[in-house]
C-alpha cells in the first residue's frame, strides 16, 4: 500500500501541490481552495496537510462561543486533520473533498509529482497501516 510522506522541513511554501491537485481534479481550472492538499502556515513554517475521510463527528472538547454575531469555535491547527470541520470543502457547493491518490499518468498522485522541493514523497507501507 502506498502513502504520501510529508517532510515539513523541506517545504518551501510554493504551493505547487495545491495547484497540481486542483488542476488534476478540475481538469481545466486552477483553484487552490478546491485542492485536497493544502499548505498550512503555522508561525513561519509550512505544513502540507492532506484531507482524510469526512464524518459528521467532532471531538468532544469542542466549544462554540457566540459573542454578538460572531461564532468563535477555538478550532485552529487540528482543524486541518478534523474529519468534521470544513477546511477541505468546495467553497461554492460545500461538498467535502477527499484525497484519492490520483495521478494524470499513473502511478503517483499529482501533488507528489509536482513537488519541486522533495517535501512530498510516495512511500510503500505495510497494509495494516
Amino acid at each position: 500500500m502506498e502513502r504520501i510522506r510529508i517532510d515539513h522541513t523541506k517545504c518551501t511554501g510554493c504551493r505547487y501541490c495545491e495547484l497540481a491537485c486542483s488542476l488534476n481534479h478540475l481538469s481545466t481550472a486552477f483553484n487552490p481552495k478546491k485542492a485536497r492538499i493544502r499548505v498550512l502556515k503555522e508561525g513561519k513554517r509550512f505544513f502540507p496537510v492532506i484531507s482524510g475521510p469526512h464524518t459528521e463527528a467532532a471531538c468532544n472538547i469542542k466549544v462554540d462561543l457566540v459573542i454578538g454575531e460572531k461564532v468563535y469555535d477555538f478550532c485552529d491547527l487540528c482543524r486541518a486533520a478534523c474529519p468534521y470541520k470544513g477546511v477541505f470543502k468546495d467553497p461554492v457547493t460545500e461538498i467535502p473533498l477527499q484525497c484519492d491518490f490520483c495521478g494524470i499518468d499513473a502511478p503517483g498522485p499529482a501533488c507528489v509529482k509536482w513537488c519541486p522541493s522533495g517535501a512530498l514523497t510516495l512511500v510503500e507501507v505495510p497494509s495494516y497501516y
Binding site: 522541513t9 510554493c14 504551493r15 505547487y16 495547484l19 488542476l23 478540475l26 481552495k33 485552529d76 509536482w114
Partner: protein, 544 residues
C-alpha cells in the same frame, strides 16, 4: 475568458464608491496584464506632471494572465504609480502569494484613487469589497500589524489564507524611503510607493479569493510544467542554491562591489560561506520551483545581495549577523533596505569629509549607532529621512550623490559598463531590477543587449512571471504555457514588441513629467569614457 478574469475593480477612497468594470479584450491582448496593463491604465488616467502625494495620483494594481496558474515562478503582481523619490513612473513587483490571491478573487486590475479621511484598510473577499477602519494598525511595526490584523478574524484558518499587503510607520509619515511589505518580505522595486499609500491614508490591502482560474488546455499545461520541473537546468539549481549571491564571487573578481560609499574597493571582508552560514531554510513564492528566498531558522527573511551590500559593506559593516539585524529593523519600520542603507552610507561619507555635522549620524562601521538612527529616520526626526539625493541638495553638495534620477546606485559600474547603461536608462531611477545581466560584453553589443533585456523583463512582468526565471527558462518555453493558458498563439517577436511598447509608454510618461534626456546620466564619479557613445547608440536603437 481563459487565463484572465476580465474584471477591473475601482475603489474611490474619498467617496467610498466601489465599482466593478469589464476589461476590454483588445487591452488584454495588447498589454497582456501586470506591468503592461498597469502602466496603460495609469498613463491614461493620471496627468504626468502631478504631485505624487496629490489625491489625484492613483495606484494601479494588476496581475498577469499567468499569475496564479502553475506556470514556473508565476507569482508577480505589479503596482504602478508615480514615485515621490524619483518623480518617475514606477512599477513594483509583489512576490509571495498576494498576486495569486487577487487573481483568485476574480480581478485583473484594481485602481485605487482619492484620499481617505482616516486610516483605511481595503478588504477584498471575492465580490465582497469593503473599506474598513484601520486605526488599530496605525504606527505599528509591520510584524505587529500583521499579527494584529490576523487576530481580528474570528476564524484562524481564514486569517491564514488572507494575504496582506501593507505599509509600515515610515509610509504613514510619507517618507520617500518607505516601501511595501507582504508577509514579512519587502516588495521588490517598491521604494517610494509606501509613501503614496500613506498619502492616501491607505494602511493595507487584504485579499482572499476562492474563484477558479480557467485554462484553455489543461492537459498540455500540466505536461509542459511537469517537463519544466523535471528538467530544471543546472543554472536554475545553482540559483536556487545561492540566490542572488550567484554573482558575488564574479563581482569581487571584477571589482564591482565596493565599501564605505565607494571610497574603498571590497576586498572579501565577508566571504560567501560566512553569508551562507546563517541561511537555514529556503522559501519559495507561489508556484516557484527555485525557492531563492532565504530565511533564518525562525523564518525571518535574509537580505539579498543589493540590500546586503548597501546595509553592510557600504556602511563599513562586515558582520553578517549585524547586517541581518539592521535588515530586519528596516522591514519592521517599512523602510526600503537598499535606499535606506545607501542614504546612511552617503551621510557617513559626508560626515567623514567634515561636510555634515550631525551627532546622530555614525562614522563608518558603527553598527550600534545605525540601529539607533534607523528608528529616527522612520519617525522623520533625522535629516536623512528624505533620502540621499535631497540630503546632498540640502547640504549644497549635489555632486556627492551617487545615483540616477534621485535613486542611489548599489554596484560600482566603473568596471561593469553594461550595468552602467542599465542604471542610466532605467525608467524608475538607478535599479538593476529593470534589466540585470551580470556578464561582460563588448561595446558594440551592450546597447542591444540592454534593450533586449529591458524589453524581456517588461513582458515577463506583464505576464506575471518573475524575471529570475530567465536564468534557466527562455522566453520560447513560455510561449507554450501562454498558449495552453489563454488559447492565444504569439511569437517571440510579438512578445518582445509588446515589451518595447510598454517601455516606450513609461519613457513617454517620464518625459511629460519633466524627466528629460539629461537625467539619463551616470554621476561624474562613475562615468566612463565610452558611456556617451553607448548611450547614443542605445537611443538610436530605441528611436529616441
Amino acid at each position: 475568458m481563459f487565463g484572465w478574469q476580465g474584471k477591473l475593480l475601482r475603489i474611490d477612497l474619498e467617496t467610498k464608491k466601489i465599482s466593478i468594470e469589464d476589461l476590454k479584450t483588445e487591452d488584454l491582448l495588447d498589454f497582456l496584464g501586470g506591468r503592461g496593463l498597469g502602466v496603460k491604465f495609469f498613463v491614461n488616467e493620471v496627468n504626468a506632471d502631478i504631485d505624487p502625494f496629490a489625491p489625484e495620483n492613483k495606484i494601479v494594481i494588476a496581475v498577469g494572465p499567468l499569475t496564479g496558474t502553475g506556470a514556473s515562478s508565476a507569482s508577480l503582481c505589479s503596482i504602478v504609480t508615480k514615485s515621490p523619490l524619483t518623480n518617475t513612473i514606477i512599477s513594483a513587483q509583489v512576490k509571495l502569494y498576494f498576486g495569486a490571491e487577487l487573481k483568485a478573487a476574480g480581478y485583473d486590475v484594481v485602481i485605487i484613487e482619492g484620499k481617505a479621511l482616516s486610516p483605511t484598510l481595503i478588504s477584498i473577499k471575492d465580490d465582497d469589497v469593503s473599506l474598513l477602519p484601520a486605526d488599530f494598525l496605525f504606527d505599528r511595526p509591520t510584524d505587529e500589524a500583521l499579527s494584529l490584523f490576523q487576530i481580528s478574524f474570528n476564524d484562524p484558518w481564514v486569517a491564514r489564507e488572507t494575504r496582506f499587503l501593507h505599509i509600515g510607520p515610515a509610509g504613514q509619515k510619507y517618507l520617500p524611503l518607505a516601501n511595501l511589505i507582504t508577509d514579512g518580505l519587502p516588495v521588490a522595486n517598491s521604494v517610494g510607493i509606501g509613501a503614496v499609500f500613506g498619502s492616501k491614508n491607505l494602511i493595507g490591502i487584504a485579499v482572499r479569493g476562492t474563484k477558479d482560474i480557467l485554462l484553455y488546455d489543461g492537459e498540455v499545461f500540466f505536461k509542459t510544467v511537469f517537463k519544466d520541473l523535471e528538467n530544471l537546468s543546472e543554472n536554475l539549481k545553482s540559483f536556487s542554491d545561492l540566490s542572488t549571491y550567484l554573482v558575488f564571487e564574479d563581482f569581487i573578481e571584477h571589482n564591482i562591489l565596493a565599501c564605505c560609499y565607494f571610497i574603498q574597493p571590497f576586498a572579501s571582508e565577508v566571504t560567501l560561506s560566512q553569508i551562507k552560514e546563517i541561511w537555514k531554510r529556503h522559501r519559495g513564492c507561489f508556484s516557484c520551483p527555485i525557492a531563492c528566498l532565504k530565511t533564518t531558522q525562525r523564518g525571518d527573511f535574509l537580505p539579498e545581495i543589493d540590500a546586503f551590500m548597501s546595509l553592510g559593506p557600504l556602511c563599513g559593516i562586515y558582520d553578517v549577523k549585524s547586517i541581518s539585524k539592521i535588515y530586519a529593523l528596516c522591514i519592521k519600520l517599512g523602510l526600503d533596505p537598499v535606499e535606506t542603507g545607501l542614504t546612511i552610507s552617503c551621510a557617513m561619507a559626508m560626515k567623514e569629509k567634515g561636510l555634515f555635522d550631525d551627532e546622530s549620524v555614525p562614522f563608518f562601521g558603527d553598527k550600534k549607532t545605525i540601529l539607533e538612527l534607523i528608528p529616527k529616520i522612520a519617525k522623520k526626526e533625522s535629516p536623512l529621512a528624505n533620502g540621499a539625493f535631497k540630503l546632498c541638495q540640502e547640504l549644497n553638495n549635489p555632486d556627492l550623490f551617487l545615483g540616477v534620477k534621485g535613486r542611489s546606485i548599489v554596484f560600482d559600474v566603473r568596471n561593469h559598463h553594461y550595468l552602467g547603461l542599465v542604471y542610466a536608462t532605467s525608467n524608475c531611477g538607478a535599479t538593476h531590477l529593470n534589466g540585470f545581466v551580470f556578464t561582460k560584453e563588448n561595446y558594440d553589443e551592450i546597447p542591444q543587449k540592454v534593450k533586449l533585456m529591458q524589453d524581456k523583463i517588461a513582458v515577463l512582468e506583464s505576464l506575471g512571471i518573475c524575471p529570475y526565471i530567465l536564468k534557466g527558462i527562455s522566453l520560447e518555453n513560455l510561449l507554450t504555457i501562454f498558449q495552453a493558458t489563454t488559447g492565444i498563439t504569439l511569437t517571440k517577436e510579438e512578445f518582445l514588441k509588446k515589451g518595447e511598447e510598454i517601455y516606450q509608454i513609461e519613457h513617454n510618461f517620464n518625459e511629460k513629467a519633466g524627466i528629460k534626456r539629461d537625467a539619463d546620466m551616470l554621476p561624474v564619479k562613475f562615468s566612463f569614457p565610452e558611456f556617451e557613445k553607448i548611450l547614443e547608440s542605445y537611443y538610436k536603437l530605441r528611436g529616441w
